[in-house]
């Protein structure tokens, strides 16, 4: 059976399952126009169906089309269409999910994938054409023990070329990445979890053509301790500490050992007001008896209030901050951001919304939106987006402002 027939059979099988199960569908469409030189037109279509098969399992089919011509906003392709299909089951002892997705690319820009400069070796660029991905997740629980595994297999079909446009032959147009993870955990208390895991990635390379012995394989062992507790339905606290011992070819020696600490705290101050904060820190070292280095850290706080006057819960105001200081010696920008969002029903079924996202070293973004709710699940909206680039170097000179007309349909 050819691969196309096999995929078609799978799709029909899932569509048949959707036809006989309790199914919900959704469709979101956005047609946009962005000012610039030249102007560009865009279309986003997101379609999906979710079928509940029984109390423990469901399957989902989605298709996301994103087209922008000419491509701006640093997009590396004019068109991408991602089709995904998955089956998920969650039981008392066993959880598992299998999923497949395929993304077709149109008008792709050749990019450097797995790039390394080697003197005298041509610089190879790859234009993405079609990506296949298969994912399998499974977790089995027995008493206080849990064993789980994840597998992501990605096959990318490309069109290779040389930097200066010379035709290239003999190089494999398929890039294959295999990501896998195995984990064992024990829960001595309901809120306490201790785990150990092994991550492994392989990426076969054609050494003779690429001219380097560097590979893109990766492996890591991990030990972690986590505390997760919900207090009286209003408060949630999660703390996690993880140590990773990692190895890949281009890694700096100091990156070999990584310690990740995470803190998350959420609290309902009243039925309409919810706030949360999270703090993640990543430090690394080569030898614990020597220096410990900061790799990255991140703090985030968010507060959201839902207006009780709107029974649909679509009226809200949100304030947030993300603090992510730069590593000064790493020549990267501070990616901190301050953001606020408002959506409010001014009349029955008519909402006015706005969003401000200020990232002083990245970009400032302003959005204004008017939404007409035709019924509880169907809307028409018109949105304006304004952007101002704040980055010192011109990696994204074509950030543009624009308006979008869209519709959402859920049934």
């Amino acid at each position: 059976m050819s691969s196309k027939r096999y995929l078609l059979s799978l799709t029909l099988l899932f569509l048949l399952a959707l036809a006989f199960a309790q199914t919900s569908y959704w469709q979101n469409t956005d047609l946009s126009w962005r000012a610039g030189n030249p102007d560009s037109w865009g279309l986003k279509l997101y379609t999906g169906a979710l079928a509940t098969i029984d109390e423990e399992s469901y399957c989902e089919v989605t298709n996301y089309l994103d087209w922008l011509s000419p491509p701006t906003l640093n997009l590396k392709q004019k068109l991408s269409n991602r089709f995904a299909i998955g089956y998920y089951s969650s039981g008392s002892a066993l959880d598992y999910g299998i999923a497949y997705n395929a993304t077709a690319f149109g008008g792709s820009e050749p990019i450097r994938i797995n790039y390394e400069y080697v003197d005298g070796v041509p610089d190879i660029l790859y234009a993405k054409e079609l990506r296949h991905q298969a994912s399998i997740d499974a977790a089995y629980r027995y008493s206080i023990l849990e064993a789980s595994g994840k597998l992501n297999l990605i096959l990318l079909n490309t069109k290779p070329s040389q930097l200066w446009g010379d035709p290239i032959s003999g190089i494999d147009q398929y890039l294959f990445d295999n990501y896998s993870r195995a984990e064992l955990a024990v829960n001595p208390l309901p809120e306490l979890r201790i785990h150990t895991a092994y991550d492994y990635k392989t990426h076969p390379m054609d050494e003779e053509i690429v001219g380097t012995t560097r590979d893109y394989n990766y492996d890591a062992i991990e030990l972690g301790l986590a505390y997760d507790k919900k207090f009286n339905l209003n408060t949630h606290l999660s703390l996690q500490g993880t140590w990773q011992h990692r190895d890949w070819d281009a890694m700096q020696p100091e990156q070999r050992n990584q310690v990740i600490t995470e803190l998350r705290f959420g609290h309902h101050l009243n039925p309409y007001l919810y706030g949360y904060c999270s703090l993640i820190n990543r430090s690394c070292f080569e030898d614990p008896s020597r220096d410990i280095y900061l790799l990255s850290n991140y703090a985030r706080a968010q507060l959201q209030y839902r207006f009780p006057s709107d029974e649909t819960s679509n009226s809200f105001v949100m304030l947030g901050v993300k603090i992510r200081p730069a590593n000064d010696t790493a020549f990267h920008p501070d990616t901190s951001a301050y953001f606020a969002e408002l959506n409010y029903a001014v009349l029955e079924g008519i909402y006015l919304g706005g969003r401000v996202n200020l990232a002083p070293e990245i970009q400032d973004e302003y959005r204004a939106k008017i939404t007409l709710m035709l019924d509880q699940d169907t809307d028409l909206h018109l949105e304006y987006v304004g952007r101002q680039n704040r980055r010192a170097f011109a990696a994204d000179p074509d950030l543009k402002s624009g308006i979008a007309l869209g519709a959402g349909l859920h049934f």
Partner: protein, 83 residues
């Protein structure tokens, strides 16, 4: 109870120690806060090294072996989930 409190204090102390007591490396890594990621695919659409993929739950993951730390993905994330 006392043990739990001690454990919590140790983790909080470790977090703050990491924030303020470490030397800075001449390199950084970008990662994605899974709890904030909505799987919109904006980040992978702009990645110049095809370093971002999605797990079975549709959450984005950055492959550090491919990432060139250009930071282009940070600007397009509507959730501010990349750090």
């Amino acid at each position: 109870m006392k043990r739990k409190a001690l454990f919590l204090c140790a983790l909080i102390a470790l977090t703050f120690l990491g924030l303020y007591a470490c030397k800075q490396l001449t390199h950084t890594e970008y990662n994605i806060d899974r709890s904030a990621c909505n799987g919109c695919t904006n980040c992978s659409a702009v990645c110049p090294s095809d370093a971002i993929y999605y797990d079975g739950n549709g959450k984005a993951i950055i492959d550090q072996t491919k990432c060139t730390t250009c930071g282009d993905c940070v600007a397009v994330c509507p959730q501010n989930a990349i750090y």
